[in-house]
């Protein structure tokens, strides 16, 4: 039978697995193989995930499982995403949804965030966690590659209030060679869908000579949905199958981002230590409204928030932020509808 969780739509025979090795067929249905087994469960600051426009400086409980439906050549968590999930089970945290939520409360975490690998490979477990988290008023967020099916994307939207989607590249050649998928079409579709009523940030790792020529096109695409979507442009950290690759040139990428900064209101360039491009600037007057430090891959920190009530201290312009006053879909339309191309279907 076909698995409907991601766009690979693997055909899985009874007792066998698909590409991600996280689902099997049992009793005539697709079943999760390792429910509620977590490869990671720890606290972090939300900037390090990265989320730059969600509860700045807050502590989150970071969780992850194993396996992935992509095969990126530069994966920074290959020992989790690419290794057989079965062989990883001896080091997992077996924690029930209630235990995870209790853990988040015990460590004063403002949110629970799924990162490390791809949430689409663990949707049933995450639905269970979301139920407990909602009851405890703890919002959930995730990093995702956005390759879920339409149906799964609705499930992800029901689980997560805020999402950072990795849009790795546009061309079929790039996606085939570096990611192992035929097309970025489903990712683009899902960004558009999730941006309707979830807080969305987007991340693009830039590999010189491979996808740096797509910077403007990606910026155009995101601006066409909503110019307020924060865009994290990552300097590729060469790892895994690309560990011998050249480190991308920072000045060249910064220069390539100039026109993107005209189209999108919040463009960040980081994933390397000491980056100058991690502060939030007011789109209207250019004042610094949030200062951060970049410690490289997964290590960003908040320095200080200069805006009050999510408004620029210089000109009063509203800064997009998921804060203590959560922004509902209707409020979001009201706040951003006039100043951007944000649309609601």
């Amino acid at each position: 039978m076909h698995c409907g969780y991601c766009e690979r739509r693997c055909e899985i025979k009874s007792g066998r697995t698909g590409f991600c090795r996280m689902y099997t067929v049992a009793g005539g249905a697709i079943k999760e193989r390792f429910p509620h087994c977590w490869s990671s469960c720890g606290t972090s600051v939300i900037e390090s995930i990265p989320f730059y426009h969600v509860y700045p400086g807050s502590r989150c409980l970071v969780i992850g499982t194993a396996g992935c439906n992509f095969r990126c050549r530069y994966c920074s968590n290959a020992y989790i995403a690419k290794e057989d999930p079965e062989t990883q089970q001896d080091r997992m945290y077996p924690l029930a949804p209630r235990e995870l939520v209790d853990m988040a409360k015990k460590f004063n975490c403002r949110s629970i965030i799924f990162s490390v690998n791809e949430p689409t490979v663990s949707i049933p477990s995450l639905l269970d966690v979301a139920q407990e988290a909602k009851a405890a008023a703890i919002p959930m967020g995730c990093l995702t590659n956005g390759y879920a099916t339409v149906e799964s994307t609705e499930l992800l939207a029901s689980i997560f209030s805020f999402v950072n989607i990795s849009l790795k590249g546009l061309s079929p050649v790039f996606n085939k060679k570096y990611i192992g998928i035929p097309s970025s079409g489903p990712v683009l579709r899902n960004i558009e869908r999730l941006a309707q009523d979830r807080h969305v940030e987007v991340t693009t790792p830039v590999i010189q000579g491979a996808n740096d020529n797509e910077i403007d096109t990606i910026a155009d695409f995101l601006a066409g949905i909503d110019a307020e979507i924060p865009w994290h442009v990552f300097r590729l950290l060469p790892e895994d199958e690309m560990k011998d690759a050249e480190y991308p040139n920072i000045q060249a990428i910064d220069a390539a981002l100039r026109s993107a900064r005209e189209k999108l209101h919040y463009v960040y360039f980081h994933n390397f230590v000491g980056s100058d491009w991690v502060n939030t600037l007011c789109p209207a007057c250019g004042s610094v409204v949030i200062e951060r430090f970049s410690l490289g891959c997964g290590g960003d920190k908040l320095n200080r928030v200069l805006c009050k009530d999510d408004r620029c201290p210089g000109c009063g312009r509203k800064i997009r932020m998921v804060g203590e006053k959560s922004v509902s879909r209707e409020e979001k339309k009201e706040v951003y509808g006039k100043s951007s191309k944000f649309k609601t279907k």
Binding site: T43, R59, N249, F272, V273, G299, R304
Partner: protein, 380 residues
């Protein structure tokens, strides 16, 4: 102001170490250090060429700054031994290569060497899972023997005390007594400190996703190569350095990570690596104890709630746990010129107090580049 220069491969940034803010500054030392960073990109934690990087970087700094005291850390064998499966022969060759690297540095530099190993490694036999207790346990994944325990229920205490792989549970007051802690330090000490038996490590939340093959062993004693000196414990290394330097020698202190009594290849003294039931594991406390001559477990005790301070304190954002520059480190008080180079972590600039330090900027084995810190220049 202490200046940090970050080199992210092909790109450098200069910051105020304390505030993390960008600064525009230049000068002979800054220009010299920028050149050193450019010439020595970090090869990564896991290969033995990483130790060569330490030597080559230090030799380049010596050319540019002419120090009398050099502090080096070789840690490639620690990272490789910890995470890579290897045979006994492979491990022996790796340790031998580390000593050859030290020898190469000593031959080229002509410095008199004092070498200390941070302790043996032992195969990981298993984890002590303390994630599902009523209270909570805290440690980083780099520690093995120790974990802090907070808010335990009577059931927790009963279960943990009866756990076959837990050696003992020490109350906060006992930890504070052992290290003669100040009231300010007491607040960082966990309510209880749990001690694992040899070969076992605590599994807490925020634990490692990478499973180690080897972890620090029972290292009540570590090896010390210090010709002409007697130092019964690691707090005595400082006076050996001072003595050699005052005799007019140029001196290098080499810390060999993950090398203990079983593997040390040169003649050594047995050097006590702690007090009573406590011994140091490789990390900043052991370094600070060596460089200050005082036991420094309480500066950032294992098992403290580091995550609270990570969010609340804004000083020294590029210095890991450190929230201030530690006092009384050897190189900070030494009147002559000093440098440090190391591939262990981003803490050389804090634990050594050297005028100029260069270290890898690698987090959880991800190679981000290098960082240099200039605490002071202008010494003659």
């Amino acid at each position: 102001m202490s200046i940090a220069i970050i080199d992210a491969r092909g790109w450098q940034n200069t910051l105020d170490l304390k505030t993390g803010e960008k600064v525009e500054t230049s000068g002979p030392a800054i220009d010299m250090v920028k050149g050193v960073l450019r010439r020595h990109p970090y090869p990564g934690d896991m290969g033995m060429e990483s130790n060569r990087w330490v030597s080559d970087t230090a030799l380049d700094l010596i050319d540019g700054y002419s120090p009398r005291f050099v502090f080096l850390t070789y840690a490639a064998q620690y990272f490789s031994g910890r995470y890579a499966q290897m045979t006994k022969e492979q491990r022996a060759r790796m340790i031998s290569d580390t000593f050859l690297e030290a020898e190469r540095f000593i031959d080229i530099s002509g410095f008199a060497a004092i070498i200390v190993g941070t302790g043996d490694m032992t195969p990981l036999l298993g984890f002590i899972d303390v994630t599902r207790i009523d209270g909570f346990a805290v440690c980083t994944h780099w520690t093995a023997r120790y974990a802090g325990l907070y808010d335990p229920s009577p059931d927790d205490i009963k279960a943990l005390e009866g756990h076959p792989q837990i050696e003992r549970i020490v109350q906060r007051k006992e930890v504070v007594r052992l290290f003669n802690g100040t009231p300010e330090q007491v607040s960082r000490v966990p309510e209880y400190l749990m001690l694992a038996r040899k070969g076992y490590a605590f599994k807490t939340i925020s634990g490692a996703m990478k499973k180690p093959v080897m972890i620090p062993s029972l290292n009540f004693n570590v090896p010390l190569y210090a010709p002409g000196h007697i130092a019964e414990e690691i707090t005595g290394i400082r006076s050996a350095l001072a003595k050699d330097l005052s005799s007019g020698k140029n001196v290098v202190l080499i810390v060999m990570e993950g090398v203990g009594l079983d593997d040390f290849l040169w003649p050594y003294l047995l050097c006590r690596n702690g007090m009573e039931w406590y011994y140091y594991e490789p990390g900043e406390a052991q370094y600070l104890t060596i460089t200050s001559g005082d036991h420094r477990f309480l500066d950032y005790p294992t098992g403290y709630k580091y995550f609270n301070e990570a969010e609340a304190t804004k000083s020294y954002p590029f210095s890991g746990y450190f929230k201030s520059i530690p006092e009384k480190t050897f190189a900070a008080t030494f009147p002559g010129k000093s440098i440090a180079a190391g591939n262990k972590s981003m803490f050389m600039h804090m634990v050594t107090g050297a005028d100029i330090s260069v270290e890898c900027f690698a987090r959880n084995l991800s190679n981000q580049g290098t960082m240099a810190v200039i605490h002071r220049e202008g010494k003659r």
